[in-house]
Symmetry: D2
Subunit: 157 residues, 4 copies
Protein backbone atom coordinates (compact mmCIF):
# COMPACT_ATOMS: atom_id res chain seq x y z
CA UNK A 1 0.00 0.00 0.00
CA UNK A 2 2.87 2.39 0.81
CA UNK A 3 4.27 1.85 -2.66
CA UNK A 4 0.91 2.69 -4.22
CA UNK A 5 0.83 5.93 -2.25
CA UNK A 6 4.41 6.84 -3.17
CA UNK A 7 3.72 6.30 -6.86
CA UNK A 8 0.48 8.29 -6.56
CA UNK A 9 2.50 11.16 -5.08
CA UNK A 10 5.04 10.80 -7.90
CA UNK A 11 2.28 10.97 -10.48
CA UNK A 12 1.22 14.31 -8.94
CA UNK A 13 4.79 15.66 -8.91
CA UNK A 14 5.94 14.98 -5.33
CA UNK A 15 8.84 12.76 -4.27
CA UNK A 16 9.98 11.51 -0.88
CA UNK A 17 13.13 13.60 -1.39
CA UNK A 18 11.06 16.79 -1.93
CA UNK A 19 9.39 16.20 1.42
CA UNK A 20 12.61 15.22 3.18
CA UNK A 21 14.21 18.50 2.06
CA UNK A 22 11.52 20.42 3.93
CA UNK A 23 12.10 18.29 7.03
CA UNK A 24 15.82 19.16 6.95
CA UNK A 25 15.04 22.84 6.36
CA UNK A 26 12.63 23.01 9.32
CA UNK A 27 14.64 20.95 11.80
CA UNK A 28 18.30 21.71 11.10
CA UNK A 29 18.47 24.49 13.65
CA UNK A 30 17.18 22.19 16.40
CA UNK A 31 18.42 18.66 15.65
CA UNK A 32 21.39 16.96 13.92
CA UNK A 33 19.31 15.99 10.88
CA UNK A 34 20.69 14.58 7.62
CA UNK A 35 18.79 13.89 4.38
CA UNK A 36 19.11 10.19 5.17
CA UNK A 37 17.39 10.59 8.55
CA UNK A 38 14.74 12.87 7.03
CA UNK A 39 13.95 10.34 4.28
CA UNK A 40 13.68 7.55 6.85
CA UNK A 41 11.20 9.62 8.88
CA UNK A 42 9.07 10.50 5.84
CA UNK A 43 9.00 6.77 4.96
CA UNK A 44 7.87 5.84 8.49
CA UNK A 45 5.04 8.37 8.29
CA UNK A 46 3.97 6.93 4.93
CA UNK A 47 3.84 3.46 6.55
CA UNK A 48 0.80 4.44 8.61
CA UNK A 49 -2.57 3.32 7.28
CA UNK A 50 -4.32 6.53 8.38
CA UNK A 51 -1.75 8.60 6.46
CA UNK A 52 -2.17 6.45 3.36
CA UNK A 53 -5.95 6.81 3.53
CA UNK A 54 -5.80 10.59 3.89
CA UNK A 55 -3.38 10.89 0.96
CA UNK A 56 -5.37 8.56 -1.32
CA UNK A 57 -8.66 10.30 -0.52
CA UNK A 58 -7.37 13.85 -0.98
CA UNK A 59 -5.45 13.14 -4.17
CA UNK A 60 -8.49 11.30 -5.55
CA UNK A 61 -10.61 14.40 -4.97
CA UNK A 62 -8.00 16.57 -6.72
CA UNK A 63 -7.98 14.21 -9.72
CA UNK A 64 -11.76 13.89 -9.97
CA UNK A 65 -12.07 17.67 -9.79
CA UNK A 66 -9.56 18.00 -12.62
CA UNK A 67 -11.67 15.63 -14.72
CA UNK A 68 -14.85 17.62 -13.99
CA UNK A 69 -16.42 14.59 -12.30
CA UNK A 70 -17.25 16.48 -9.11
CA UNK A 71 -20.69 18.10 -9.01
CA UNK A 72 -21.36 21.79 -8.57
CA UNK A 73 -21.06 23.82 -6.38
CA UNK A 74 -18.28 21.66 -4.87
CA UNK A 75 -16.41 21.54 -8.19
CA UNK A 76 -15.92 25.30 -8.34
CA UNK A 77 -14.97 25.48 -4.66
CA UNK A 78 -12.28 22.83 -5.19
CA UNK A 79 -11.06 24.22 -8.51
CA UNK A 80 -10.38 27.65 -7.09
CA UNK A 81 -9.06 26.24 -3.77
CA UNK A 82 -11.54 28.48 -1.94
CA UNK A 83 -9.96 29.89 1.21
CA UNK A 84 -13.10 29.16 3.25
CA UNK A 85 -13.06 25.47 2.29
CA UNK A 86 -11.25 23.71 5.12
CA UNK A 87 -11.66 19.99 4.42
CA UNK A 88 -8.15 19.89 2.94
CA UNK A 89 -6.72 21.21 6.23
CA UNK A 90 -8.82 18.68 8.14
CA UNK A 91 -7.38 15.73 6.20
CA UNK A 92 -3.87 17.15 6.54
CA UNK A 93 -4.18 17.59 10.30
CA UNK A 94 -5.37 14.00 10.68
CA UNK A 95 -1.91 13.06 9.39
CA UNK A 96 -0.05 15.41 11.70
CA UNK A 97 -2.16 14.33 14.71
CA UNK A 98 -0.75 10.81 14.62
CA UNK A 99 2.53 12.07 16.00
CA UNK A 100 0.87 14.32 18.53
CA UNK A 101 0.03 17.95 18.70
CA UNK A 102 3.56 19.34 18.52
CA UNK A 103 3.29 19.12 14.72
CA UNK A 104 0.44 21.65 14.43
CA UNK A 105 2.86 24.57 14.54
CA UNK A 106 5.02 23.25 11.72
CA UNK A 107 1.94 22.40 9.67
CA UNK A 108 0.58 25.93 9.93
CA UNK A 109 3.92 27.48 9.16
CA UNK A 110 4.41 25.33 6.06
CA UNK A 111 0.89 26.07 4.87
CA UNK A 112 1.38 29.83 5.28
CA UNK A 113 4.96 30.29 4.02
CA UNK A 114 4.79 27.53 1.36
CA UNK A 115 8.52 26.67 1.06
CA UNK A 116 9.99 24.17 -1.46
CA UNK A 117 7.66 21.61 -3.01
CA UNK A 118 4.60 23.16 -1.30
CA UNK A 119 5.22 26.46 -3.09
CA UNK A 120 5.80 24.65 -6.38
CA UNK A 121 2.48 22.80 -6.02
CA UNK A 122 0.79 26.09 -5.30
CA UNK A 123 2.35 27.77 -8.34
CA UNK A 124 1.27 25.07 -10.76
CA UNK A 125 -2.38 25.36 -9.80
CA UNK A 126 -3.30 26.48 -13.28
CA UNK A 127 -2.10 23.19 -14.76
CA UNK A 128 -3.23 20.75 -12.06
CA UNK A 129 -5.74 20.78 -9.17
CA UNK A 130 -3.64 20.65 -5.98
CA UNK A 131 -6.29 21.77 -3.50
CA UNK A 132 -5.74 18.78 -1.23
CA UNK A 133 -2.20 17.85 -2.22
CA UNK A 134 -0.34 20.91 -0.95
CA UNK A 135 -1.96 20.68 2.49
CA UNK A 136 -1.43 16.92 2.68
CA UNK A 137 2.28 17.33 1.92
CA UNK A 138 2.52 19.95 4.68
CA UNK A 139 0.81 17.43 6.97
CA UNK A 140 3.27 14.64 6.11
CA UNK A 141 6.31 16.91 6.54
CA UNK A 142 5.04 18.24 9.88
CA UNK A 143 4.36 14.67 11.04
CA UNK A 144 7.90 13.59 10.09
CA UNK A 145 9.32 16.54 12.07
CA UNK A 146 7.31 15.49 15.14
CA UNK A 147 8.35 11.88 14.77
CA UNK A 148 12.00 12.91 14.57
CA UNK A 149 11.75 15.18 17.61
CA UNK A 150 10.19 12.40 19.70
CA UNK A 151 12.85 9.90 18.49
CA UNK A 152 15.67 12.31 19.30
CA UNK A 153 14.38 12.83 22.85
CA UNK A 154 14.23 9.07 23.28
CA UNK A 155 17.83 8.75 22.02
CA UNK A 156 16.56 6.82 19.04
CA UNK A 157 17.66 9.20 16.31
CA UNK B 1 -26.05 26.73 -0.19
CA UNK B 2 -28.01 25.25 2.74
CA UNK B 3 -30.84 24.36 0.41
CA UNK B 4 -28.42 22.57 -1.91
CA UNK B 5 -27.14 20.54 1.01
CA UNK B 6 -30.64 19.71 2.26
CA UNK B 7 -31.68 18.50 -1.18
CA UNK B 8 -28.46 16.50 -1.49
CA UNK B 9 -29.31 14.82 1.82
CA UNK B 10 -32.84 14.17 0.58
CA UNK B 11 -31.50 12.57 -2.60
CA UNK B 12 -29.52 10.17 -0.38
CA UNK B 13 -32.53 9.37 1.81
CA UNK B 14 -32.07 11.67 4.81
CA UNK B 15 -34.44 14.42 5.94
CA UNK B 16 -34.11 17.14 8.55
CA UNK B 17 -36.92 15.40 10.45
CA UNK B 18 -34.96 12.10 10.52
CA UNK B 19 -32.07 13.91 12.15
CA UNK B 20 -34.28 15.91 14.52
CA UNK B 21 -35.84 12.66 15.79
CA UNK B 22 -32.42 11.48 16.92
CA UNK B 23 -31.79 14.81 18.67
CA UNK B 24 -35.05 14.41 20.61
CA UNK B 25 -34.21 10.79 21.44
CA UNK B 26 -30.76 11.67 22.78
CA UNK B 27 -31.68 14.82 24.69
CA UNK B 28 -35.17 14.24 26.06
CA UNK B 29 -33.89 12.90 29.38
CA UNK B 30 -31.78 16.03 29.95
CA UNK B 31 -33.61 18.97 28.34
CA UNK B 32 -37.19 20.07 27.56
CA UNK B 33 -36.78 19.36 23.83
CA UNK B 34 -39.58 19.32 21.26
CA UNK B 35 -39.39 18.30 17.58
CA UNK B 36 -39.73 21.99 16.72
CA UNK B 37 -36.67 22.93 18.79
CA UNK B 38 -34.74 19.94 17.44
CA UNK B 39 -35.51 20.90 13.83
CA UNK B 40 -34.44 24.47 14.49
CA UNK B 41 -31.12 23.26 15.90
CA UNK B 42 -30.46 20.91 12.97
CA UNK B 43 -31.18 23.83 10.61
CA UNK B 44 -28.74 26.09 12.47
CA UNK B 45 -26.02 23.44 12.20
CA UNK B 46 -26.69 23.13 8.45
CA UNK B 47 -26.24 26.91 8.14
CA UNK B 48 -22.53 26.62 8.86
CA UNK B 49 -20.22 26.68 5.85
CA UNK B 50 -17.83 24.11 7.36
CA UNK B 51 -20.74 21.71 7.89
CA UNK B 52 -21.96 22.21 4.32
CA UNK B 53 -18.47 21.56 2.96
CA UNK B 54 -18.04 18.35 4.98
CA UNK B 55 -21.45 17.07 3.85
CA UNK B 56 -20.93 17.93 0.18
CA UNK B 57 -17.45 16.37 0.13
CA UNK B 58 -18.42 13.14 1.90
CA UNK B 59 -21.61 12.59 -0.09
CA UNK B 60 -19.69 13.30 -3.30
CA UNK B 61 -17.21 10.56 -2.40
CA UNK B 62 -20.08 8.13 -1.69
CA UNK B 63 -21.66 8.91 -5.06
CA UNK B 64 -18.44 8.69 -7.05
CA UNK B 65 -17.66 5.36 -5.38
CA UNK B 66 -21.11 4.10 -6.35
CA UNK B 67 -20.40 5.06 -9.97
CA UNK B 68 -17.01 3.27 -9.91
CA UNK B 69 -15.22 6.55 -10.60
CA UNK B 70 -12.88 6.18 -7.62
CA UNK B 71 -9.59 4.40 -8.34
CA UNK B 72 -8.39 1.23 -6.66
CA UNK B 73 -7.49 0.43 -3.94
CA UNK B 74 -9.55 3.29 -2.48
CA UNK B 75 -12.68 2.14 -4.32
CA UNK B 76 -12.77 -1.24 -2.56
CA UNK B 77 -11.99 0.34 0.81
CA UNK B 78 -14.91 2.76 0.41
CA UNK B 79 -17.29 0.18 -1.06
CA UNK B 80 -16.91 -2.17 1.87
CA UNK B 81 -16.78 0.68 4.44
CA UNK B 82 -13.54 -0.77 5.77
CA UNK B 83 -13.42 -0.48 9.55
CA UNK B 84 -9.81 0.75 9.45
CA UNK B 85 -10.66 3.61 7.09
CA UNK B 86 -11.23 6.62 9.34
CA UNK B 87 -11.58 9.58 6.98
CA UNK B 88 -15.36 9.40 7.31
CA UNK B 89 -15.06 9.82 11.08
CA UNK B 90 -12.63 12.70 10.55
CA UNK B 91 -15.08 14.63 8.36
CA UNK B 92 -17.90 13.89 10.80
CA UNK B 93 -15.95 15.12 13.80
CA UNK B 94 -15.09 18.35 11.99
CA UNK B 95 -18.84 19.00 12.08
CA UNK B 96 -19.24 18.13 15.76
CA UNK B 97 -16.15 20.19 16.70
CA UNK B 98 -17.83 23.44 15.69
CA UNK B 99 -20.02 23.27 18.77
CA UNK B 100 -17.17 22.21 21.03
CA UNK B 101 -15.96 18.96 22.39
CA UNK B 102 -19.04 18.02 24.39
CA UNK B 103 -20.50 16.51 21.20
CA UNK B 104 -17.81 13.82 20.84
CA UNK B 105 -19.58 11.53 23.25
CA UNK B 106 -22.89 11.69 21.42
CA UNK B 107 -21.13 11.22 18.09
CA UNK B 108 -19.41 8.03 19.27
CA UNK B 109 -22.57 6.67 20.80
CA UNK B 110 -24.60 7.28 17.62
CA UNK B 111 -21.89 5.72 15.48
CA UNK B 112 -21.75 2.60 17.67
CA UNK B 113 -25.44 2.03 18.44
CA UNK B 114 -26.74 3.28 15.08
CA UNK B 115 -30.29 4.32 16.09
CA UNK B 116 -32.97 5.60 13.66
CA UNK B 117 -31.86 6.95 10.30
CA UNK B 118 -28.22 5.99 10.99
CA UNK B 119 -29.19 2.32 11.30
CA UNK B 120 -31.35 2.56 8.18
CA UNK B 121 -28.44 4.01 6.19
CA UNK B 122 -26.24 1.21 7.48
CA UNK B 123 -28.79 -1.45 6.50
CA UNK B 124 -29.17 -0.23 2.95
CA UNK B 125 -25.45 -0.45 2.23
CA UNK B 126 -26.07 -3.10 -0.40
CA UNK B 127 -28.13 -0.69 -2.47
CA UNK B 128 -26.23 2.55 -1.94
CA UNK B 129 -22.72 3.54 -0.76
CA UNK B 130 -23.20 5.30 2.61
CA UNK B 131 -19.64 5.09 3.89
CA UNK B 132 -19.46 8.82 4.59
CA UNK B 133 -23.16 9.59 4.96
CA UNK B 134 -23.92 7.61 8.11
CA UNK B 135 -20.99 9.17 10.00
CA UNK B 136 -21.79 12.65 8.72
CA UNK B 137 -25.39 12.36 9.94
CA UNK B 138 -24.11 11.26 13.37
CA UNK B 139 -21.85 14.34 13.30
CA UNK B 140 -24.72 16.71 12.47
CA UNK B 141 -27.00 15.21 15.15
CA UNK B 142 -24.26 15.35 17.79
CA UNK B 143 -23.53 18.97 16.83
CA UNK B 144 -27.21 19.90 17.16
CA UNK B 145 -27.31 18.30 20.63
CA UNK B 146 -24.28 20.36 21.69
CA UNK B 147 -25.76 23.54 20.26
CA UNK B 148 -28.98 22.93 22.15
CA UNK B 149 -27.19 22.21 25.44
CA UNK B 150 -25.20 25.45 25.15
CA UNK B 151 -28.36 27.42 24.27
CA UNK B 152 -30.25 25.94 27.20
CA UNK B 153 -27.50 26.90 29.65
CA UNK B 154 -27.54 30.44 28.24
CA UNK B 155 -31.36 30.57 28.69
CA UNK B 156 -31.72 30.85 24.95
CA UNK B 157 -33.65 27.62 24.35
CA UNK C 1 7.94 8.00 32.82
CA UNK C 2 5.46 5.21 32.03
CA UNK C 3 5.92 3.82 35.54
CA UNK C 4 5.19 7.22 37.04
CA UNK C 5 1.96 7.39 35.04
CA UNK C 6 0.93 3.85 35.99
CA UNK C 7 1.46 4.56 39.68
CA UNK C 8 -0.42 7.86 39.34
CA UNK C 9 -3.34 5.91 37.85
CA UNK C 10 -3.08 3.40 40.68
CA UNK C 11 -3.18 6.18 43.26
CA UNK C 12 -6.48 7.34 41.67
CA UNK C 13 -7.92 3.81 41.66
CA UNK C 14 -7.27 2.62 38.09
CA UNK C 15 -5.14 -0.39 37.09
CA UNK C 16 -3.90 -1.59 33.72
CA UNK C 17 -6.08 -4.66 34.25
CA UNK C 18 -9.21 -2.49 34.73
CA UNK C 19 -8.54 -0.86 31.37
CA UNK C 20 -7.66 -4.15 29.65
CA UNK C 21 -10.98 -5.62 30.76
CA UNK C 22 -12.81 -2.89 28.84
CA UNK C 23 -10.67 -3.57 25.77
CA UNK C 24 -11.65 -7.25 25.88
CA UNK C 25 -15.31 -6.35 26.42
CA UNK C 26 -15.37 -3.97 23.42
CA UNK C 27 -13.36 -6.07 20.99
CA UNK C 28 -14.22 -9.70 21.72
CA UNK C 29 -16.99 -9.81 19.12
CA UNK C 30 -14.63 -8.61 16.39
CA UNK C 31 -11.15 -9.94 17.22
CA UNK C 32 -9.55 -12.96 18.98
CA UNK C 33 -8.56 -10.89 22.00
CA UNK C 34 -7.21 -12.26 25.30
CA UNK C 35 -6.48 -10.37 28.52
CA UNK C 36 -2.79 -10.81 27.77
CA UNK C 37 -3.12 -9.11 24.37
CA UNK C 38 -5.32 -6.39 25.84
CA UNK C 39 -2.80 -5.64 28.60
CA UNK C 40 0.01 -5.47 26.06
CA UNK C 41 -1.96 -2.97 24.00
CA UNK C 42 -2.79 -0.78 27.01
CA UNK C 43 0.91 -0.81 27.92
CA UNK C 44 1.92 0.25 24.40
CA UNK C 45 -0.53 3.16 24.53
CA UNK C 46 0.93 4.21 27.90
CA UNK C 47 4.41 4.22 26.32
CA UNK C 48 3.55 7.26 24.20
CA UNK C 49 4.78 10.61 25.51
CA UNK C 50 1.62 12.45 24.37
CA UNK C 51 -0.55 9.97 26.29
CA UNK C 52 1.58 10.34 29.41
CA UNK C 53 1.35 14.13 29.19
CA UNK C 54 -2.43 14.10 28.81
CA UNK C 55 -2.83 11.72 31.76
CA UNK C 56 -0.46 13.65 34.03
CA UNK C 57 -2.08 16.99 33.18
CA UNK C 58 -5.67 15.82 33.62
CA UNK C 59 -5.05 13.91 36.85
CA UNK C 60 -3.12 16.91 38.20
CA UNK C 61 -6.15 19.12 37.56
CA UNK C 62 -8.42 16.60 39.34
CA UNK C 63 -6.09 16.54 42.36
CA UNK C 64 -5.65 20.31 42.57
CA UNK C 65 -9.42 20.73 42.33
CA UNK C 66 -9.86 18.27 45.19
CA UNK C 67 -7.43 20.31 47.30
CA UNK C 68 -9.30 23.56 46.51
CA UNK C 69 -6.20 25.00 44.84
CA UNK C 70 -8.05 25.85 41.62
CA UNK C 71 -9.55 29.34 41.48
CA UNK C 72 -13.22 30.14 40.99
CA UNK C 73 -15.22 29.88 38.78
CA UNK C 74 -13.16 27.01 37.32
CA UNK C 75 -13.13 25.18 40.66
CA UNK C 76 -16.91 24.82 40.78
CA UNK C 77 -17.07 23.83 37.11
CA UNK C 78 -14.52 21.06 37.68
CA UNK C 79 -15.98 19.94 41.01
CA UNK C 80 -19.40 19.34 39.56
CA UNK C 81 -18.01 17.95 36.27
CA UNK C 82 -20.16 20.48 34.39
CA UNK C 83 -21.59 18.91 31.25
CA UNK C 84 -20.73 22.00 29.19
CA UNK C 85 -17.06 21.85 30.19
CA UNK C 86 -15.34 19.96 27.37
CA UNK C 87 -11.62 20.25 28.12
CA UNK C 88 -11.64 16.75 29.63
CA UNK C 89 -12.99 15.33 26.35
CA UNK C 90 -10.37 17.32 24.44
CA UNK C 91 -7.49 15.82 26.42
CA UNK C 92 -9.03 12.35 26.10
CA UNK C 93 -9.41 12.63 22.34
CA UNK C 94 -5.80 13.72 21.99
CA UNK C 95 -4.97 10.23 23.32
CA UNK C 96 -7.37 8.43 21.00
CA UNK C 97 -6.18 10.47 17.99
CA UNK C 98 -2.71 8.96 18.12
CA UNK C 99 -4.07 5.70 16.76
CA UNK C 100 -6.24 7.40 14.17
CA UNK C 101 -9.84 8.38 13.96
CA UNK C 102 -11.34 4.88 14.18
CA UNK C 103 -11.14 5.19 17.98
CA UNK C 104 -13.58 8.12 18.22
CA UNK C 105 -16.57 5.80 18.11
CA UNK C 106 -15.35 3.62 20.95
CA UNK C 107 -14.42 6.70 22.98
CA UNK C 108 -17.90 8.16 22.65
CA UNK C 109 -19.57 4.88 23.46
CA UNK C 110 -17.46 4.36 26.60
CA UNK C 111 -18.09 7.92 27.73
CA UNK C 112 -21.86 7.54 27.29
CA UNK C 113 -22.44 4.00 28.57
CA UNK C 114 -19.71 4.09 31.25
CA UNK C 115 -18.97 0.37 31.60
CA UNK C 116 -16.56 -1.15 34.15
CA UNK C 117 -13.94 1.09 35.73
CA UNK C 118 -15.38 4.19 33.96
CA UNK C 119 -18.70 3.69 35.73
CA UNK C 120 -16.95 3.09 39.03
CA UNK C 121 -14.98 6.33 38.67
CA UNK C 122 -18.21 8.13 37.89
CA UNK C 123 -19.96 6.66 40.92
CA UNK C 124 -17.26 7.67 43.36
CA UNK C 125 -17.41 11.32 42.34
CA UNK C 126 -18.54 12.30 45.81
CA UNK C 127 -15.32 10.99 47.33
CA UNK C 128 -12.82 12.02 44.66
CA UNK C 129 -12.72 14.50 41.75
CA UNK C 130 -12.62 12.36 38.58
CA UNK C 131 -13.65 15.02 36.07
CA UNK C 132 -10.66 14.36 33.83
CA UNK C 133 -9.85 10.80 34.89
CA UNK C 134 -12.97 9.03 33.59
CA UNK C 135 -12.65 10.60 30.14
CA UNK C 136 -8.91 9.95 29.99
CA UNK C 137 -9.45 6.26 30.78
CA UNK C 138 -12.04 6.07 28.00
CA UNK C 139 -9.44 7.68 25.73
CA UNK C 140 -6.74 5.14 26.63
CA UNK C 141 -9.11 2.17 26.21
CA UNK C 142 -10.37 3.45 22.83
CA UNK C 143 -6.76 4.01 21.70
CA UNK C 144 -5.81 0.45 22.70
CA UNK C 145 -8.79 -0.91 20.72
CA UNK C 146 -7.65 1.04 17.63
CA UNK C 147 -4.06 -0.09 18.05
CA UNK C 148 -5.22 -3.70 18.27
CA UNK C 149 -7.46 -3.43 15.21
CA UNK C 150 -4.61 -1.98 13.14
CA UNK C 151 -2.21 -4.71 14.39
CA UNK C 152 -4.69 -7.44 13.59
CA UNK C 153 -5.14 -6.19 10.03
CA UNK C 154 -1.36 -6.14 9.63
CA UNK C 155 -1.14 -9.74 10.92
CA UNK C 156 0.79 -8.49 13.88
CA UNK C 157 -1.66 -9.51 16.62
CA UNK D 1 -17.93 34.90 32.50
CA UNK D 2 -16.36 36.79 29.58
CA UNK D 3 -15.40 39.61 31.92
CA UNK D 4 -13.72 37.15 34.29
CA UNK D 5 -11.69 35.78 31.38
CA UNK D 6 -10.73 39.24 30.11
CA UNK D 7 -9.53 40.28 33.55
CA UNK D 8 -7.64 36.98 33.91
CA UNK D 9 -5.89 37.74 30.61
CA UNK D 10 -5.15 41.28 31.83
CA UNK D 11 -3.63 39.90 35.03
CA UNK D 12 -1.26 37.82 32.86
CA UNK D 13 -0.34 40.80 30.66
CA UNK D 14 -2.63 40.38 27.64
CA UNK D 15 -5.30 42.84 26.46
CA UNK D 16 -8.00 42.57 23.83
CA UNK D 17 -6.14 45.31 21.94
CA UNK D 18 -2.92 43.24 21.91
CA UNK D 19 -4.80 40.38 20.29
CA UNK D 20 -6.70 42.65 17.87
CA UNK D 21 -3.40 44.09 16.64
CA UNK D 22 -2.32 40.61 15.54
CA UNK D 23 -5.65 40.09 13.77
CA UNK D 24 -5.10 43.31 11.81
CA UNK D 25 -1.51 42.35 11.02
CA UNK D 26 -2.50 38.91 9.70
CA UNK D 27 -5.59 39.93 7.75
CA UNK D 28 -4.89 43.39 6.35
CA UNK D 29 -3.56 42.04 3.05
CA UNK D 30 -6.74 40.04 2.48
CA UNK D 31 -9.64 41.95 4.05
CA UNK D 32 -10.61 45.59 4.79
CA UNK D 33 -9.97 45.19 8.52
CA UNK D 34 -9.86 48.01 11.08
CA UNK D 35 -8.89 47.82 14.76
CA UNK D 36 -12.57 48.28 15.58
CA UNK D 37 -13.59 45.23 13.53
CA UNK D 38 -10.68 43.21 14.92
CA UNK D 39 -11.65 44.05 18.52
CA UNK D 40 -15.25 43.08 17.82
CA UNK D 41 -14.13 39.72 16.46
CA UNK D 42 -11.84 39.00 19.41
CA UNK D 43 -14.76 39.84 21.72
CA UNK D 44 -17.08 37.46 19.87
CA UNK D 45 -14.53 34.65 20.19
CA UNK D 46 -14.23 35.34 23.93
CA UNK D 47 -18.03 35.03 24.22
CA UNK D 48 -17.86 31.30 23.52
CA UNK D 49 -18.02 29.01 26.55
CA UNK D 50 -15.51 26.54 25.10
CA UNK D 51 -13.00 29.35 24.56
CA UNK D 52 -13.51 30.62 28.10
CA UNK D 53 -12.98 27.12 29.50
CA UNK D 54 -9.77 26.56 27.52
CA UNK D 55 -8.38 29.95 28.62
CA UNK D 56 -9.30 29.49 32.29
CA UNK D 57 -7.85 25.97 32.38
CA UNK D 58 -4.58 26.80 30.64
CA UNK D 59 -3.94 29.99 32.60
CA UNK D 60 -4.75 28.13 35.83
CA UNK D 61 -2.08 25.55 34.97
CA UNK D 62 0.45 28.33 34.26
CA UNK D 63 -0.32 29.98 37.62
CA UNK D 64 -0.21 26.76 39.63
CA UNK D 65 3.10 25.86 38.00
CA UNK D 66 4.47 29.27 38.96
CA UNK D 67 3.46 28.66 42.56
CA UNK D 68 5.14 25.21 42.56
CA UNK D 69 1.80 23.53 43.25
CA UNK D 70 2.11 21.14 40.29
CA UNK D 71 3.79 17.80 41.06
CA UNK D 72 6.93 16.48 39.42
CA UNK D 73 7.73 15.52 36.72
CA UNK D 74 4.93 17.66 35.20
CA UNK D 75 6.17 20.77 37.02
CA UNK D 76 9.56 20.73 35.30
CA UNK D 77 7.99 19.97 31.91
CA UNK D 78 5.66 22.97 32.26
CA UNK D 79 8.32 25.30 33.74
CA UNK D 80 10.67 24.81 30.83
CA UNK D 81 7.84 24.74 28.24
CA UNK D 82 9.21 21.44 26.95
CA UNK D 83 8.94 21.29 23.17
CA UNK D 84 7.60 17.73 23.30
CA UNK D 85 4.73 18.70 25.62
CA UNK D 86 1.77 19.34 23.34
CA UNK D 87 -1.20 19.80 25.68
CA UNK D 88 -0.90 23.58 25.32
CA UNK D 89 -1.29 23.25 21.53
CA UNK D 90 -4.25 20.92 22.06
CA UNK D 91 -6.11 23.45 24.21
CA UNK D 92 -5.25 26.23 21.76
CA UNK D 93 -6.53 24.28 18.77
CA UNK D 94 -9.81 23.55 20.55
CA UNK D 95 -10.32 27.33 20.42
CA UNK D 96 -9.40 27.66 16.75
CA UNK D 97 -11.55 24.65 15.82
CA UNK D 98 -14.76 26.44 16.77
CA UNK D 99 -14.49 28.59 13.67
CA UNK D 100 -13.51 25.69 11.44
CA UNK D 101 -10.27 24.35 10.13
CA UNK D 102 -9.22 27.39 8.10
CA UNK D 103 -7.70 28.81 11.30
CA UNK D 104 -5.10 26.04 11.72
CA UNK D 105 -2.72 27.73 9.30
CA UNK D 106 -2.80 31.05 11.10
CA UNK D 107 -2.41 29.31 14.46
CA UNK D 108 0.72 27.48 13.33
CA UNK D 109 2.21 30.58 11.77
CA UNK D 110 1.62 32.66 14.94
CA UNK D 111 3.08 29.92 17.12
CA UNK D 112 6.21 29.65 14.96
CA UNK D 113 6.90 33.31 14.15
CA UNK D 114 5.66 34.70 17.49
CA UNK D 115 4.75 38.26 16.44
CA UNK D 116 3.53 41.00 18.83
CA UNK D 117 2.13 39.97 22.19
CA UNK D 118 2.98 36.28 21.54
CA UNK D 119 6.67 37.15 21.25
CA UNK D 120 6.48 39.34 24.35
CA UNK D 121 4.92 36.50 26.35
CA UNK D 122 7.66 34.21 25.12
CA UNK D 123 10.40 36.68 26.09
CA UNK D 124 9.14 37.14 29.63
CA UNK D 125 9.24 33.42 30.38
CA UNK D 126 11.87 33.97 33.05
CA UNK D 127 9.50 36.14 35.07
CA UNK D 128 6.21 34.30 34.52
CA UNK D 129 5.14 30.82 33.35
CA UNK D 130 3.43 31.33 29.98
CA UNK D 131 3.53 27.74 28.72
CA UNK D 132 -0.18 27.68 27.99
CA UNK D 133 -0.85 31.39 27.59
CA UNK D 134 1.19 32.07 24.44
CA UNK D 135 -0.44 29.18 22.57
CA UNK D 136 -3.92 30.09 23.81
CA UNK D 137 -3.50 33.67 22.56
CA UNK D 138 -2.41 32.33 19.17
CA UNK D 139 -5.55 30.18 19.22
CA UNK D 140 -7.84 33.13 19.99
CA UNK D 141 -6.24 35.34 17.33
CA UNK D 142 -6.45 32.58 14.69
CA UNK D 143 -10.10 31.98 15.63
CA UNK D 144 -10.90 35.68 15.26
CA UNK D 145 -9.25 35.71 11.80
CA UNK D 146 -11.41 32.73 10.74
CA UNK D 147 -14.55 34.33 12.13
CA UNK D 148 -13.81 37.50 10.20
CA UNK D 149 -13.12 35.67 6.95
CA UNK D 150 -16.42 33.77 7.21
CA UNK D 151 -18.30 37.01 8.04
CA UNK D 152 -16.71 38.83 5.12
CA UNK D 153 -17.75 36.11 2.69
CA UNK D 154 -21.28 36.30 4.04
CA UNK D 155 -21.29 40.09 3.55
CA UNK D 156 -21.59 40.51 7.28
CA UNK D 157 -18.30 42.34 7.88
Amino acid sequence: MKNIVISLLGERGVSVVDMAQLVVELQKQYLPVTMEIAIENIEKVLDKREVQNALMTGIQLDKLTEKDLVEEPLRTILKRDDSLYGIDEILALSITNIYGSIGFTNFGYLDKVKPGIIGRLNDEKEAQVNTFLDDLIAGVVAAACSRMAHSYADNRL
